[in-house]
Symmetry: C2
Subunit: 476 residues, 2 copies
Amino acid sequence: MSTEFIFPSLQHPEAISSFVEACRDLLGDRVSTSPEDRLKAGKDWWPRAWLWDARGKVLSFPDVVVWPESTEEVVALVRLASQHRIPITPRGGGSGVLGGAVPVRGGVVMDLTRMRRIRELHEEDLLVTVEAGILGITLEEELNRQGFTCGHIPQSLALSTVGGWIAARSIGEFSTKYGPIEGMVAGLEVVLPWGEIWRTRVAPRTATGPGLMDLFVGAEGTLGIITAATLRIRRLPEMRRMRSFTFPDLAKGITAVREMIQRGVLPAVCRLYDEMEAAYRFSSVVRKGGPLLLLLFEGESRLVLAEDSVGTEICLDHGAQETGEEPMQHWLKTRFDVSEVEALLKQGAVLDTIEVAATYSRILPLYDAVVGAIQAVPGTVVAFGHFSHFYPDGACLYVSLAGFPGEDREGYHQRCWEAAMHACLARGGTISHHHGIGLQKAPWLGQELGEGLEILRRIKRAIDPHELFNPGKFGV
Amino acid sequence: MSTEFIFPSLQHPEAISSFVEACRDLLGDRVSTSPEDRLKAGKDWWPRAWLWDARGKVLSFPDVVVWPESTEEVVALVRLASQHRIPITPRGGGSGVLGGAVPVRGGVVMDLTRMRRIRELHEEDLLVTVEAGILGITLEEELNRQGFTCGHIPQSLALSTVGGWIAARSIGEFSTKYGPIEGMVAGLEVVLPWGEIWRTRVAPRTATGPGLMDLFVGAEGTLGIITAATLRIRRLPEMRRMRSFTFPDLAKGITAVREMIQRGVLPAVCRLYDEMEAAYRFSSVVRKGGPLLLLLFEGESRLVLAEDSVGTEICLDHGAQETGEEPMQHWLKTRFDVSEVEALLKQGAVLDTIEVAATYSRILPLYDAVVGAIQAVPGTVVAFGHFSHFYPDGACLYVSLAGFPGEDREGYHQRCWEAAMHACLARGGTISHHHGIGLQKAPWLGQELGEGLEILRRIKRAIDPHELFNPGKFGV
């Protein structure tokens, strides 16, 4: 076979075949070595892989795929893999966009999507315990049916799993009110590299030593395999209010949102689009040009009315013009739609999104620098952005890029990333707000973390001394 | 000298004297080997130590105390101590109540209270960067003067430092609105055991791998020395509303607060006292008996009014009777007053406080079990409690105990702790909500963390292989 693999398996065929045999004893037909399954398990939604794919290159080719159905099976598999020194890459929905779930040394991919039970829904405590492989949408629909919501609604809801959310330190699009995934995790069940299970005590808050649980949030499977989680949920909101505003310029929009959040007004959805992205996405529903702010308030009615009143006043004070409910409705209707992406890809475009974050005093220079840097890469047709998540101290900047660079599409893609990451770090931003690190952002992790990278290296060696858990990631 | 030390120094005198000499070269007269300084640096506010003290036993006797004034001096001291293999116990205000700052093997106590500068106050980002040794009250007063508040107001405000807050995973009494310390820390500067400085990137949120920063929050100095921190602050509130209610029983009070918080009403102060503690502390201002709830709402006026309206309605719906502003005013006036404690101690009482936490479905059985277990220890005169911090999923239970057990006061004290910790763990609570672990709670940490203790052990060995940073803690 003449296929070129970007990350070929580095495992010895004999070690693999004896491992596979042991897996079959354990799981029967929930073990596959078929090329189709292995190819599927070897990739996620990393745009770089599409470029390789178009040139007949295959991202990775793990040796075997397994589908455990219980924590005990995960434990047995971890022990087996440890005995045979086979790398394990845990996998949820495979919707990551940076290559985090790509097995770079072959070995076994552990697909957790058959661990998808809701173990317990606790109405009084507003807690739900689920297995890690449950799809976001399955959980959210079941919660909705019973009058609750997780409040964690990423664009990937239909594709991503709860375990994936936690492993990649995900965030939902309603986070300005409901917060990021690390605030929702009240408890974890993790299978550790030495084959034991850590079940954390579930408590509203604890001061029992270092924050160990947060170490597994964002670890992307490098320190343990998350098999279950207890998440904080909410009752469905009593009232919802939607607004939109156009601003004279982006600075005034940022200032208005900052003031709003800092005064305690927390819209669930709060998105500020630059003029170009606003025109691209909302010209059908907003006549007026300029940066566009979408707001969605929800919750207890009296609180929603108060937040809406304060929020609207602040926007108007900063020169905004109200543009009604429709843009927000439009966003709600279209936000899971990726058909436009598929159409552009067919035309040969290079597409990607790059999300970073910074404090308010840095966010506009960061926006100018990152968007400007990408626009300056030859081949770029458009680069625009919006601010998608807000905090009292700063915001997330989400940039979309499209280019038609001719032949050297991989080179162009890489140059965009280099330009964006360099601009971000130089302006004091963090290189990832919620997509994680994966393979795409790993080259810049050392600059991001500084001496923290040495801490991470030491922890990785201490927890996974044989480097079997999603190896080759984080540059450690 | 016939003094009995509970934790005598285990260091070799020659190693110490050559280390002390090197310290003097570095810090001049900011190095002390005087018995007074060493005795003072060898204790915190751990009540067990008072009992030993009364019998002429001394808790610990570190070999030397140093007062660095800059991060660079901390680095130099860490490198020196590492070369000489001398244990280092960092120290803030020494207000911990569990023995966390007690140097159990002698060595050097690094007193950080001369590192007390405010490095930067960033109004736009609502961030302040301070050195770790600044006293809470110094910071809060300076912030107030400029129109801001930290929102972190522990009872120890006048004694404790920002570094101590972070190291012990502290919480303030306004946390139901403003959250715990880990949510306020936007950035850290930490000197690591290998003598390098980790300065984290300050960002509103980041998804750049595992949550490394949270590992130093609650580590009680065992993994590194916090030399500076960037904290999220707020503007001073526009409006404040105070209320109090008595409830027919504790269950109705808990249910009302739970409903309030779960519907998004977040009073800054929210404290529910059982009947006995309510009578003890508030009989001068509340005629009616029964469990007492204190509420203080603050912030943007329209939001405060909405929260107050919803909160009051919920309380009344659950059978509460309103008892005015005065109990809350009384609490605000008296909360830093510990004269009552001193008077009781003089009479020979054994006193302590034990704080734990649990989810709502467990909190009342936990209350009954913990308070009942302490009351059942022979010698107990009173044990009562209040719920001091609330979350959407649970609450903190804060129990006070007083006993006159006769001669065996240390034995009585230990029996109370054993009874309380056993009851807490058996009812699914966490053994520490905000006091940390120290020496007093360490025997139960293994039961609390389960396999997490092995994770902690591995991390400790990886980060501090010579076990020099606050050694002998956490049972690792």
